[in-house]
């Protein structure tokens, strides 16, 4: 689902909508996601509240093709994007300091990988590890190690699945700066997952 600009300005048709049950069943999950993204509890709460408002207004559009949760999650994603649009008008989002040397020890001066430090084969495959709770804890820890703005643009791109042109516009950053920031985020996350997950003996689990 990709960012319909209007949140369906259709009249409220509350067929089968049960907002109070939504709060009980999905409230915490939505709140966790929002909190991961905006970091401030009061803002996360507001976003969840607004998500439910939109859901009530547009529940007529919900056809049960996806689960109720992913439908609500989709609305929340739009709300998160809106939040960053607003923030982008007030804050400078460019961060080119982070990893300015781009892990230079990984490469020899000629520009090739240092053969001792090149990417490892990831085993077991991500599809397998994605079922493990400890893996997600590692992923979260790696995300929190990124500088805030780098993490923000990365998550807008990969979690909310915003187009790069939209991110540039929303956060008022140049395409080139965005490329650099995304590249550094990916490089650092890849490295962090490798060191903290794929390189560790799996039988011991997450350390």
């Amino acid at each position: 689902m990709r960012f319909p600009k209007s949140e369906g300005a259709k009249p409220a048709v509350t067929t089968g909508a049960d907002p109070e049950r939504w709060v009980e069943e999905h409230g915490d999950c939505l709140y966790r996601y929002a909190l991961l993204r905006v970091r401030r509890p009061e803002i996360a709460e507001d976003l969840v509240q607004e998500t439910f408002f939109v859901a009530v207004r547009t529940s007529g559009n919900f056809r049960g093709k996806s689960s109720e949760r992913s439908w609500l999650c989709g609305i929340l994603k739009n709300k998160i994007c809106d939040y960053f649009r607003k923030l982008g008008r007030e804050t400078c989002f460019t961060d080119l300091e982070f990893l300015a040397d781009e892990l230079s020890h990984k490469f020899v001066p000629q520009g090739f990988w240092n053969h001792e430090a090149g990417p490892l084969e990831w085993k077991p495959e991500a599809e397998v590890v994605m079922h493990r709770t400890e893996f997600w804890e590692t992923f979260r820890d790696c995300l929190t190690k990124l500088p805030q703005r780098i993490a923000d643009v990365f998550m807008l791109r990969e979690m909310e699945e915003m187009e790069t042109s939209q991110i540039c516009e929303a956060l008022n950053i140049s395409p080139n700066n965005l490329w650099v920031m995304l590249h550094r985020a990916r490089m650092a996350l890849r490295e962090c997952l490798e060191i903290n997950w794929f390189k560790k003996p799996q039988q011991e689990g997450h350390l």
């Binding site: 909508a17 915490d28 997600w136």
Partner: protein, 116 residues
Amino acid sequence: MSGEYNPSPEGNPSFLARRNRFQTALVKFVGRYTPKCREVVRILSRSMDSKLSLTMRAKLRLHYLICAWCQRYAKQLHVLRKIASSAPDHVDEFSQDALSSTAKERMKEALRRKSP
């Protein structure tokens, strides 16, 4: 500038290693005429967000022949995307934060007011 640096040392997992004079010449050639790894990883990140030119895609293919590391990196960027886009579905697994019961009541109350 690659000089005598050997981009494909013995025992490395790339398709082309310097096993004989012919392969050595090929490795050197590919190393000279394709972007260096440091640049390749930037290009690969960019390829996640926009389509590369045909020439560039061909160069990357060639480069992979002498560089299993860049090839892995490319694959892992896609894995990373898959992981990140699934993260919202797994948020219950890495966070114990929860709405307070008063917050939930507040929300229900507000929803009741919105939809009589």
